[in-house]
Amino acid sequence: MSQTKKPNEALKTYWRSIARRKTRLNVLGSRPEDAEFPPGADELVVEGGASRRKFMGILGASTALAGLTSTGCVRKPKQYIMPYAKRPEDLIPGAPVYYASAYQVGGTVMGLLVESQDGRPTKIEGNPQHSGSQGATDVFAQASILSLYDPERSREVRSKTVSGHVFMPPGQGDQAKQEVKHGLCERLHHLTIEDTKSIDAAEAAAAKCEGLVDDAGRWNSYIDDAGREVTELSIDWDTQVPTTWGDARAALLSTFGPIHEAGGEGVALVVRGSMSPTYRATQQAFIKAYPKAKVVLSDPSYPINTVTASEMVAGEGALAHYSLEDASVILAADSDFLGTGPDHVRLAREYAAKRKLAAPGDTSSMNRLYCVEPHLTSTGAQADERLRLPGGDVVDFLAGLIIKLVEDHGVVLPVAAQQFGATIATRGQFDAHTERFLSVVAEDLAARLTQPQQGPGRVKPERVAIIVGERQPPLAHGLGFLLNVMLQSASGQPAGSLRFASRFGQVPYASLAELATDLQEGKTHTVICLDTNPVYDAPGTLAMAEKLGMAKLLIHAGSYHDETGQIAHWHLPLSHYLESWGDLEASDGSVSIQQPLIEPLHDTRSALEILSMLIPEQDAASGEWALSRADKHGDELVRAYWNGEIKAGSARPSMRGKPNPGELSDKVWRRWLHDGLVSGIPRGPTMKRPTKWRAFAELMTQREVPDTSLYEVNFHLDPKVLAGEFSNSGWMQELPHPITKLVWDNAAYISAVLARELGVENGDNLSIKIGDASVEVPAWIAPGQHDRTVSLALGYGRKGLGAVAEGAGFDVNPLRPGEREWFVRGEVSRGAGSHDLVSTQDYGLLDPDGAEGTPIINFERRPIYREASVEGYKQDPEFSKRGDLMPKDRLKEPWARYNELSEYYSERKVRELGVPIFQGPHQWAMSIDLNSCIACNACVVACQAENNIPVVGKDEVSNGREMHWMRIDRYYTGPEDNPDAVVMPMLCQHCETAPCENVCPVAATAHSPEGLNDMAYNRCIGTRYCANNCPYKVRRFNFLHYNEFIDEYEQMQKNPDVTVRFRGVIEKCSYCVQRINQAKIEAHVDGEDKVVDGAIVTACEQVCPTQAIVFGDISDPNSRVSKLKYATNQEDYREREQSNRDYAVLQDLLTKPRTTYLARVRNPNPKLA
C-alpha cells in the first residue's frame, strides 16, 4: 500500500468558525450544535412546540380527511389558452428573446443581455461584447431582476398637496367651487377611513379639510382646450395622499414658474452619481436653466473619493481606470476591487486571467496580490499576502511605501511630483509586523521595475497596480496614483495599469454638508431628491431628516416609498432600469444604451424623464419660458442627446478617413440597441495624464493625528445590499455574506481579541459611540479583523420600506461623520442585550478538521480544500492528489470483482447491482477552478434566478433550511487571530455512483445515461433519505410551501422552463438541465447528434466574472472541460489521467463526482513566510 504523502506545506487545518474549533468529541449523545444538521434541518420543528408525536397524530387525522378535500379527488383543472389578438411579427410564444441593456451599480457599469420570456424579463446575463462585463455579471445585476417585480415598489404618486378639480360649462363659478370642495373633503374622509378605520377620525379630517379650504385653499380657474371651465382647488394636508401624475405636473408647473424667474435660487437637486451621459447632460441643462440652483451628490455607493482624486491629479472630468491585464503585482490598499469596488467585474476577469495554471511552468506569469485592509473581504480572501491595518492608517502605509521605494530602492519620483514628494511622511511608527510587510512589498515592487536602457531593445518594465479603495480619502488615492506613476505603470502607450479616461458631461456637484447648511440657514427652500434617499443614507452628523423637514417643498422620486419619500411633500414613483430608457458609460469609455424590456409595471417615470419635466423650454414664437405640458419619452431624450453628440462630433474633422455622419439615423440607432454598444461617434482624444500633484501636498501637510486610545470604526458597503439599494430584495437578504455567512442582518465585525476584551460573544450587543451619536449593533467575531477596529455595514435597519427590509439589521448611518469619511475613532463597549444573528457558516459542514466523529471512525482530517504555494506546486505538481484518506488503488467498487468473471455473468451482475451505465452521446461534467473563485456570490443568485429557488426567511434559515442549490463554503486557515480565508463553491456533484440514488424508496432520483443525477419532483415523497446520504449536503428539502404566497408580480420573474416546486420535495442542482435539453433539442432539430462545446453554459458558469466554472462534455477529449480535468486525451474519459491540479472532494468515498475542482495555488512572497 502506498503511503499517503502530505503536501509539502503541512496539511493545513481548515476550520469554519471559532465556536466549532472548541467542540470536543462526544461519543455518547452529541450536543445539538454538533449535529451534522442543525436542529430542525431534518425534523419538523414547529412554532409552539408540537412534538413529533403530535405531528404524527395530525398527520393521521389529515390523511383520513385527504380523500374528502378538494386536493384529494378532482379532475384535471380547466386551463385556458389566450393567444394574442394580433401577434407581433417574429414573436414566438414560449421562446425567449434577448435584449441588450446596461446596468450601473456603484462605480461599475456592465453591459447586459436580458432574457425576456413572453414579454417579461426573467434572467440577466452579461453582454459578451461589453468590456465592463465580458459576458459575466455580478451579484447585484442578478438580484436586480427581482427588484423589478418587487410588489412593495412604489406604485403611485403621493402628495401632501391634495387637489381636486371639476369641469363645468363656463359661468358656473360658485357651484363649481362648492362641488370641488365637497369632492375634496369626501375623498379625504374616505382615505382617512381606509387608513385609520375610524369614522370619528374621518369626520374630523373632513371638518379640518373644510376649514383649510376656507382659510388657505388655492383656487385656479381657466378655460381648457375643449371650452370647459376647469376649477381647481388644492390644499396642503399633513399626511400624504395618493394622487396622479397630472396633479404633480400641475403643481410643478405652478411652482417652477417663479423659480425660473428667480434663476433657480433656493433650489437644490439631489442626485446619484450616475454614469449616464444623457442624464448628466440633462443635469447640465438644469443648471443652465436655473443657474443659481445647486446640484447635490448623495450616493454612498458612488466612488466619490476616487473621482475627486482623479480630477485633482488629471483635470476635470478624469476618472481613474485600472487594468490588471499586465499587472504582475497588485497592491489592494483597502480596496475590495473584487467585491464592491468600481469596475469589479472587469477587474476580476483580468485578475483571474493571470492565475489560470495548467502546469507549474505557468506560475512564472502569475500575479501576486497584496491586500491591506481592516476587515476580511472577498479580495482579502483571495490575497496571497494580507495585512490587517486600520483603514485610517492606509495613508501612512502608502506614504511609508513611497519613502521606502525612494530611499531604499532608488525609485525616482516624477518631476511634477517633487514638491508633493517632499511633504510625504508617516505619522508615527508601524509595529514590527507591518514594518516587515512594508519593506517586503517595497522590495517586490521595486524588483519588477528594471531600468529601461536607452535605444533599441529596451527592456519593458513589468507592470504593477496599486489600487486604492474608494473609502480612502483623496490623499490616499493621490499616493496610490503617485506609486503607479513612479513604478511606470501609469503610462498611456503602451497602456499601463492606470489610465485616466475623460467622461462625458461634467456637472459641478455640491456636497450634502453644503445642502444641510443651506437648509439650516434657509437659503434653500425647495429640494428635489431624484432617486436619492438622504434621510436614510446621509451621514448622521448632518441630521438630514430634520433639515429636509425645514424645506418648504420636498419632492422625492424613488422606486420605494422610502424614508425620504415618507416625509416628502411629493413622492413620485420611479421606474426600474429594466423599464426605462437611458445610457451608461463604462470607465473605459464604452457606452451602451439602456433599453426597457417591459412597459412600466406601475404608473412610474424614469429619473431622466422626471428631470426633463423640470427643465423649461423657450417657446420659439413668444420667447417665453415654460415647463412643457406634455411628457417627453425616455427614448426621445436619449436619442436627442446622441443626435446632438453626433452633430457636434461631425463638426470636427473626421479622424477615421470616412465622412462623418451628420445625424443619428434609424439604422445606426437599431444597431446600437442590437449590439448593446454605441459606436461611430466622432469624438476627440479622451486620455488625460496625471500631472497635478500640488493639491495633494496640501492635504498631506494638513493631516490630523488620530486618537489611538479609541477604536477605529469603519463603514463599508455591504456586499449584499450595498448602501440600501437591495434592502428589500429577499434574495440579497437571504444570501449568505461571502465571508461571515450572515443572513438577514448586519453586525459589528470585531476580532476575537477585541471580543475577549469587551467580554462579548456572537450576537451580544455592542454600544458604539461616535461624538454624540450612539448605536447598538450586535457583535460578530470575524477572524481576520484588525484588533482595534470595528467594521459596520451600511444598508440595513430600514424603516417603512417593505416587509423584507423591516427588522433586517441595524442602521449605522447615524454614526457616520461625513460623506467622504469612512473611518472614524469612537468608543466601543458592551451594550445591553443581544440579538439573534443567523449565519450559515456551520451548515452543511463537511467536517474538514475531523473534530466530529468518534475515535473509532473518521478521526482523520478530511482534505476538502487543497492548496499549495507556487513553490510547493513546482516541487510536487500532483499535490492535489495527496492527503486522501484512502489511496486510489485501494478503492474498489462493489461490483469490481465481477469484472474478473465471465462476460455474461458480470454483465448481468452489473445490471443487478444497479451500476450506472453511461451510454449517452454526451457525458456532462464540470470543473471549478479554486484559483479563480472570488466569492462574489453571483453564481448563487444566478442559480436562484434561473431555477425558481424560493426565499425562506430568517427563521427557516436558522433551522438550516435555506434553499440555495449552490453555496460558497468559506474555510479559515491558519492562526486564529490572523487567518486566511478560502472559498469553495459547492453544488450537486452529480456523482457517478451517487449515494443519494440508491436510497430513494420511490426512485425519484435516477441517473441519466449522460451522467446527470436527475430529480423528478413529482415522484418524490419527501423521505429525505437522499439528503441524509449525500456527503456533500447539497440536497435541499421544501419543508414548507415556500412558493405558496408569492405575489403576482413576483411570479412573473419565475423561469417557465423550470418546475416550481411544491412542499415536500427535494431539490438540488440539475446542471441547468433545462439549458442542456434546450441545446440538445436545437442540435437534434438541425440534424446533429451532439451539441457543440460551449453551446451549453450553466447559469453559474455564465455569470461568473472570473470564469471559474466550466461545464461541458468529457466524452469529447477536445472540450474545454476535458482539457481542464484531464492531462491526456484518450477517447474514453475513464482511461485518461487527471490533470495535475484536478481533484474531487471526498473522492475516497468513491462517489466519483462529475464536478471536480482545480486545487488552489497561491503565490505568497517567500520573504514573508
Binding site: 379532475r75 384535471k76 380547466k78 386551463q79 385556458y80 389558452i81 389566450m82 393567444p83 394574442y84 389578438a85 394580433k86 401577434r87 414566438i92 410564444p93 414560449g94 421562446a95 452521446p921 432520483t1005 435516477a1006 441517473h1007 441519466s1008 445515461p1009 449522460e1010 446527470l1012 436527475d1014 430529480m1015 423528478a1016 419532483y1017 413529482n1018 422552463d1057 423550470v1058 418546475t1059 416550481v1060 440539475s1070 438541465v1073 433545462q1074 442542456i1076 435539453n1077 433539442i1081 436545437e1082 437534434h1084 432539430v1085 438541425d1086 440534424g1087 446533429e1088 447528434d1089
Partner: protein, 217 residues
C-alpha cells in the same frame, strides 16, 4: 365454559380470507382502469367559445396544420393561432357569420380569445414539439385524426407510460419528414413499406430520452 361467540362467527375468517383479496384486487383494478389517464383524459372534448371545426378547415379544405399552428417547428409549444390568423381569411369569407362574432370582437378590441386547452400535461412535465416534428412523428400519432373532428377531443391519454411506449420503440411511429402533417398517411400505401432507417431525407435517427430529466426539469 359457555361459548362467547355464536357459531356463525366461525365463518368470518374464511369470508375475510376470500373477500379481502378479492376486494383488494378489485380496488386495484378499479384504480388501474378508472383512474388511469386512458379513462380520465382520453376523450376529453371541452366546449370552445367559437365552434371552430377542424373537420372543415383541416379536413375538407385541406389546410396544413402548420398554417395556423406555425410555431411548432421553432418552439416548444405549437401555439394556438392569434385572432389575426383567423381574420386572414374571415375578413373576406363569412364576414357576417354570428358564430364568428367573438373572433371579430377580439380582433377589433385586441382582447384575447379564451380557448379551452384540450391537450394538457402537468406542470412538471415539459414537452417540446420541435424534436418530435423533426424526427418525423406525425401530428396524428399523438393528436389523433383532428381532420375528422368537428370539436377537438383528446384522442390519446398522453400519460407517461404512453409516451414511454413510443420513446422505447420509436420506429413504428416515424414517417417521412414531409408527411408529418399528412393525417391520412397511415392509410396510404407508402406507410406499410416505410422504413425510417433507410430514409435518405432523414438526417439522423431519433434518440428519444427515457431518463427522467428528458422531460422532467
Amino acid at each position: 365454559m359457555p361459548a362467547i361467540f355464536p357459531r356463525w362467527t366461525n365463518k368470518i375468517p374464511l369470508a375475510v380470507g376470500v373477500l379481502v383479496p378479492l376486494g383488494g384486487a378489485f380496488l386495484i383494478f378499479a384504480l388501474w382502469y378508472w383512474a388511469s389517464p386512458l379513462y380520465t383524459d382520453a376523450g376529453y372534448r371541452p366546449k370552445q367559445p367559437v365552434p371552430f371545426s377542424h373537420a372543415l378547415h383541416a379536413g375538407d379544405m385541406g389546410m396544413d396544420c402548420r398554417y395556423c399552428h406555425n410555431t411548432v417547428e421553432r418552439a416548444a409549444h405549437a401555439a394556438i393561432p392569434p385572432t389575426q390568423t383567423c381574420m386572414n381569411c374571415h375578413s373576406q369569407v363569412k364576414t357576417d357569420s354570428p358564430r364568428l362574432a367573438p373572433i371579430r370582437t377580439s380582433y377589433e378590441t385586441g382582447e384575447s380569445m379564451k380557448w379551452t386547452r384540450v391537450h394538457m400535461l402537468p406542470d412538471y412535465a415539459f414537452f417540446d414539439h420541435r424534436p418530435h416534428v423533426a424526427a418525423g412523428v406525425g401530428c396524428a400519432s399523438c393528436h389523433g385524426r383532428i381532420d375528422g373532428m368537428v370539436v377537438v377531443e383528446q384522442a390519446e391519454p398522453l400519460s407517461m407510460g404512453w409516451c414511454l411506449d413510443c420513446h422505447r420503440n420509436p420506429e413504428p411511429n416515424l414517417r417521412p419528414l414531409d408527411q408529418v402533417t399528412n393525417m391520412n398517411w397511415d392509410n396510404e400505401a407508402a406507410a406499410a413499406s416505410y422504413n425510417p432507417n433507410e430514409d435518405p431525407e432523414r438526417k439522423r435517427m431519433p434518440s428519444p430520452p427515457v431518463h427522467c430529466s428528458g422531460c422532467h426539469r
